[in-house]
Amino acid sequence: MGSLAPERVAELERHANDIRQGIIRSLLAAGSGHSGGSLDMADIFAALYFHVMRHDPKNPDWAERDRLLLSCGHIAPVRYSAMAYAGYFPVDELLTLRHFRTRLQGHPERVSLPGLETTSGPLGEGLAQGTGMALGAKMDHKDWRVYVVTSDGEHQCGLHWEAMMTAAKFKLDNLTCFIDRNVIQIDGSTEDVMPLEPLADKYRAFNWEVFEVNGHDVGAIVDAVEAAKAVRGKPQVIIAHTVMGKGVSFMEGDYLWHGKPPKRDEADEALRQLQTARDLIGAGARG
């Protein structure tokens, strides 16, 4: 059993479900974009925006906020959807995703939308920037934390490993990295394209504290973050085992859904499945 009360878990699950429905609607409106990874990170973004992070949607530049960096910028729809439901901007604005003059650029641009911490999309750069922020917090004796969300595929970038070394050198225990370990990248399985395993051992060898978690269990995600925050003298990684496309049966585990949006009938079916799931949230707990 996790530390969260069942009612709190159910609330977070509803937030995750809202985020998934927002992803589907925005991608349908956009006509292009990345469905699979966006859907599979909904539970982690629900935990971060609705439980874990110190932030204020009405004051996105608050100096004492925790910093959340999305390194794999192509799954921007999950972040935008989480931000909209958290109150950063109207949920309807999600329908402007990828349109001309939108604040919701195809890949996130910090100067375009308040609440983003970096401009991202080119892979492998998020942990490096997060390392800089975490070091800056240490220099100024600030207690805010840095969270970096990465994909597994971008662990093939050399820069990410430069950042891993640097974060360990400076003992950045205010830095937590999430890995969306769905084992899928554009050309197929990560283990076929360029094997990453044994990934946890690699992090341990780089002097990081490693946690592994079911990336669709919001209670377990929250508990993993709490355990990570208690670590002293080391950065932490939470390897979140996820299923690409989670929550929409015909997308789950299929790498063809990495980089495409749903068509109208597919979106309708996805939203129907998600709403059905939403109606069942908490039923087990009430049991």
């Binding site: 080119p122 920037q129 800089g132 070091l135 800056g136 640097t166």
Partner: protein, 335 residues
């Protein structure tokens, strides 16, 4: 051999061989960075395993808590600095120009420029005057790859005194910036009294026959060539120290071309894409005149002594004189 413009700029007696001082421009960066750190507690320094040769060492000793050593990782250098800048620091990042920004171009574009972070790239050992290390370490494409990026500022000071001033100026001025300097000893032509402002070109020598528009340590060669041309040919050259490649002082460039009717550009860089190319872009649109380009002619460098290489690759005083005579002849032929 000075004239009114030289006097107004408070230049040294650079033409007097006995009085000439030779100091590497990187030394000016080293002293300027310490001063910048004294002026602003947010100034920090990050180095990729080259603290002595980039002259970042002095800062590391003066401000050990604001100095970060990250090893041989130039992409990290930029991206990490962008993170530090986004939480209020003013990071200077140093390595050889060949790797910083040579190795990190996409990180510069995405995390510095597009992301609008106040990072200062200090590119040391630029140009063929690096010398014996050879072509792998001679950055002669760096101006081109930096000046094409929107929002970047690119500054190439002409001597060690100006490099110190430029370091202070870019520290105090917001914006993603590339500051380029060199390894070898080079002539000190400016003094403490010489003004410096980012984006404002300087007329170091006045004249109206040909304008020699130069940057970096070759400004000295341009001045010597101009003095010799006045003495030997009665040709009066204007010498412009065009230290800011971006945003370039377009008015000064256009005025030089309009007043002189012919231009020679001089830089320790490929002629393709560098300072001279930008001058040509401006003049083609606003004030077309004959232009000759002094720089590396689409080749790579090699090992050798700095002066030997500058001569071999066509950037010595003689080459500048010949180019100026060609530009002058083309101007007269066109009339």
């Amino acid at each position: 051999m000075t004239n009114a413009a030289s006097a107004a700029m408070h230049l040294t007696d650079y033409g007097n061989g006995d009085a000439l001082k030779l100091v590497p421009t990187r030394n000016g960066f080293g002293t300027g960075l310490v001063e910048a750190g004294e002026r602003d507690a947010n100034v920090i320094a990050i180095c990729a395993d080259l603290s002595e040769s980039t002259r970042m060492e002095a800062f590391s000793k003066r401000f050990p808590d604001r100095y970060v050593e990250i090893g041989v990782a130039e992409q990290m250098l930029v991206a990490m600095a962008a993170g530090l800048a986004s939480v209020g620091k003013v990071p200077f990042i140093a390595s050889y120009a060949m790797f910083n920004p040579g190795r990190s171009w996409e990180q510069v574009r995405t995390t510095m420029a597009l992301n609008e972070t106040n990072v200062k790239i200090a590119g040391a050992h630029a140009g063929v005057s690096v010398g014996p290390d050879g072509a792998t370490h001679q950055a002669i494409e760096d101006i081109a790859i930096m000046r094409v990026i929107p929002k970047m500022t690119v500054v190439v000071p002409c001597d060690s005194v100006q490099t110190r001033k430029a370091t202070l100026a870019v520290a105090a001025r917001w914006g993603p910036t590339y500051l380029r300097f060199a390894r070898a000893e080079s002539a000190v032509i400016t003094t403490e009294d010489t003004p410096f402002e980012v984006g404002v070109a300087q007329t170091f020598r006045d004249g109206d026959d040909v304008a020699i528009i130069a940057c970096g340590i070759l400004v000295y060669n341009a001045l010597i060539a101009a003095d010799e041309l006045a003495r030997d040919h009665g040709i009066a050259c204007r010498v412009v120290n065009n230290h800011t490649i971006k945003p370039m002082d377009e008015a000064a460039v256009v005025a030089a071309a309009r007043d002189c009717g012919a231009v020679v550009t001089v830089e320790e860089h490929q002629v393709h894409g560098g300072m001279g190319s930008r001058v040509a872009e401006i003049l083609a649109a606003q004030q077309p005149v004959p232009i000759e380009f002094i720089g590396v002619q689409d080749r790579f460098g090699q090992s050798g002594a700095p002066t030997e290489l500058v001569e071999h690759y066509g950037m010595g005083v003689t080459a500048i004189r010949e180019a100026t005579l060609r530009a002058h002849a083309r101007k007269r032929a066109a009339r």
